[in-house]
């Protein structure tokens, strides 16, 4: 039994299910990300844990205690809102002290704890500022300090980094992980940014249309996505349409419009299959030596890497190449493509048209 346990939790708005049968066990000290596109139910799930939205069905237990119907104030969880929701008419110190004040902690002890948490988030010198006199990153730290100072059993973060610019976001991401490690607090973060979810969480929960589609460690999620949606949402992927053909010794997959055969093990249903290959797993070879042949249709330089799009008989394939040695072939040049067979994933083709040639 986990520290925080959600059992078949659903939230219905009339006929529409925002979240359906959400089942998850979270261990103490874990950093969990809820990842999905907007409208997938991740924020609703977080609000149900926080107590701001009442679940229609299901049970939520925290450390063995049923909190499904408990008021947010009684749950005592720390929440960091997307807009930070700082109290604009109070200074940083007053903002942070508010939760302690509500717990009727004496002034001297309150001041001590506020000073301690402000030094953890490196805001000691700004204690007397008002929120509007601060930058986005600083406000974010105040929001985290305010949520942590009440020593909550669980910290809930709702898209905490989405209002920051790209460089700051990357910085805060690791800062967030540092603070979480120091405090050792169980944390649940909602995000639509896969890079954010992969880089700082222990486990990632992918949601789609109100349901969980995969729960995994970041590395295995990236390497072994369960369906086409996840492989295109988490990182990028090339999808090659293929079909299974019986050979004398087992099965092969024949990529459509080519003579490329990939030996496979296991049982495949007849009909359409789909091969997915990550752009960074593909190597460029000389035109004759690859598994596929095509001409470069576009080439972008991204600094640390090159991003190429190669037109092949199997369709447009994107390839990312590390910026090592000579630049890759320019537009119009013919090149070969190759990858290790074990690095491509075979999935049943899905009906929803996710298949991108």
């Amino acid at each position: 039994m986990g520290f925080l346990h959600l059992e078949r939790v659903s939230k219905l708005y009339g006929e529409f299910a925002a979240v359906r049968d959400f089942d998850l066990e979270i261990e103490q000290g874990e950093f969990i990300s809820l990842l999905g596109p907007s409208g997938c139910g991740k924020t609703t799930t977080l609000q149900m844990i926080a107590g701001l939205v009442a679940p229609t069905n299901g049970r939520i237990t925290l450390d063995g205690r049923d909190i499904t119907r408990e008021k947010p104030a009684r749950r005592g969880l720390g929440v960091v809102f997307q807009s930070y929701a700082l109290f604009p008419h109070m200074t940083v110190a007053q903002n942070v002290a508010f939760g302690l004040e509500m717990r009727k902690i004496a002034k001297a002890e309150r001041d001590r704890q506020v000073a301690e948490i402000l030094s953890l988030v490196q805001l000691t010198t700004l204690a007397d500022r008002y929120p509007r006199e601060m930058s986005g990153g600083q406000r974010q730290r105040v929001a985290i300090a305010r949520a942590l100072v009440i020593k909550p059993p669980v910290l809930l973060l709702d898209e905490p980094l989405s209002n920051l610019d790209a460089k700051l976001r990357e910085e805060m991401q690791f800062e967030l992980r540092r603070i979480q490690r120091v405090v050792g607090i169980t944390t649940i973060m909602v995000t639509h940014d896969q890079a954010e979810a992969l880089s700082i969480s222990d486990r990632v929960v992918v949601m789609e249309g109100g349901r969980i589609t995969q729960v995994d460690h970041p590395y295995s999620l990236y390497e072994h996505p369960k369906n086409n949606f996840i492989s295109s949402f988490v990182g990028k992927s090339n999808f090659l349409a293929a079909r299974a053909v019986k050979e004398t010794a087992g099965v092969s997959l024949l990529v459509d419009n080519t003579d490329l055969k990939i030996p496979a093990t296991g049982n495949y249903p007849g009909g359409e299959l789909c091969l997915s290959v990550r752009p960074e797993k593909i190597r460029l070879t000389d035109p004759a030596g690859g598994m596929l042949r095509g001409s470069v249709s576009s080439r972008y330089f991204l600094g640390n890497q090159w991003l190429l799009s190669v037109a092949t008989p199997a369709g447009e394939i994107s390839v990312s190449v590390a910026n090592l040695g000579a630049p890759p072939p320019s537009e119009g040049k013919v090149t070969g493509l190759a990858w290790n067979i074990e690095e491509c994933r075979i999935l049943a083709a899905e009906q929803e048209g996710i298949l991108q040639s």
Binding site: A50, G51, L52, K71, P72, A73, G76, L77, G78, V79, F81, Q82, S83, A85, L86, F87, P88, H89, M90, F98, G99, M102, R103, Y130, R132, R146, A147, I150
Partner: protein
């Protein structure tokens, strides 16, 4: 539009030309009469021959030394302040409830709040005098409960009740506007930190509406201090406020210079109080709320 914006030196008189109609209106209808009133207040008045072409400060000295007028100024200030405080206490929760209402109800209740503004103040005041009169609805209700009838009409209580009723929309609307700009998650944040609903309102929501309450208070105070119909009809001949005494001086005593002097004193006092209040509250609120 872009063409005009790019042109390096727009014709200089254009802005003045565009502002001219409003400026003329303002000068003709406000500044000029005000200046004439100010001049009139220094004219000498003689009971047998009327306004003289000589100047004196006697009118001001009379007003500022006569306990009769000072009592009226004091009452005006007191009732306007009382009205302002009561409208803040009633209007702020009312505005909050309005922001939390659902789709059809909000528009309906907003109309209910603004609706009375469509009826003339005089008509509404007559309504109050019927309700509060010796033989009115309030005293009938008290009689049914076997309580002593009370004298409400021609008291300060009646004036304040009617002023609050008429001023309430002027408080609710600015506070409502201020509350609408608030981030609703701020209240949720207070709840998640362990605050009760009431504490969240008192400590977090209402302080953020300070600027709305400030502007509502200024409007209510200014209008109450210069109210004419309500004290005129509900205060009777005895309970005078600043505006009714000015009216009396002009139309009953025919002492225009004295009336003008009272009007100028009320204007300056009102201005001073409002500016001081505005500075005091705004300086605090500005730093916090921008």
């Amino acid at each position: 539009m872009t063409g005009a914006a790019i042109r390096p030196s727009p014709r200089l008189p254009a802005p003045f030309f565009l502002a001219a109609p409003a400026t003329l209106l303002f000068i003709g209808l406000i500044l000029l009469p005000l200046a004439l009133t100010a001049v009139l207040s220094f004219n000498v008045y003689d009971y047998s021959s009327g306004v003289q072409n000589r100047y004196t400060t006697a009118n001001y000295l009379t007003v500022l030394q006569d306990p009769y007028y000072l009592a009226i100024f004091w009452r005006t200030l007191r009732l306007a302040l009382l009205t302002t405080v009561i409208t803040v206490l009633l209007g702020t929760p009312e505005a909050y409830i309005l922001t939390r209402m659902g789709k059809p109800w909000r528009s309906i209740f907003l109309l209910v709040i603004i609706g009375p503004l469509l009826v003339s103040v005089v008509v509404r005041t007559f309504g109050w005098s019927m309700l509060l009169g010796h033989d009115g609805l309030v005293n009938h209700a008290l009689a049914m409960l076997r309580l002593e009838p009370v004298q409400l009409l021609y008291t300060e209580t009646a004036i304040v009740i009617a002023l609050v009723h008429i001023m309430l929309p002027f408080m609710v609307i600015p506070v409502w506007t201020a509350l609408q700009k608030l981030d609703p998650t701020v209240e949720a944040a207070a709840l998640s930190l362990g605050a009760s609903r009431f504490t969240a309102l008192r400590r977090i929501v209402f302080p953020q509406a300070t600027l709305g309450i400030l502007s509502g208070s200024l409007i209510v105070f200014g209008l109450s201090a210069s109210a004419f119909a309500i004290p005129g009809l509900l205060g009777g001949r005895r309970l005078k406020m600043a505006a009714t005494v000015v009216y009396d001086e002009y139309l009953i005593e025919l002492n225009w210079p004295l009336g003008a002097a009272i009007a100028i004193i009320v204007l300056l006092a009102n201005l001073a109080i409002m500016l001081a209040y505005n500075r005091m509250v705004e300086r605090q609120a500005k730093r916090r709320l921008g």
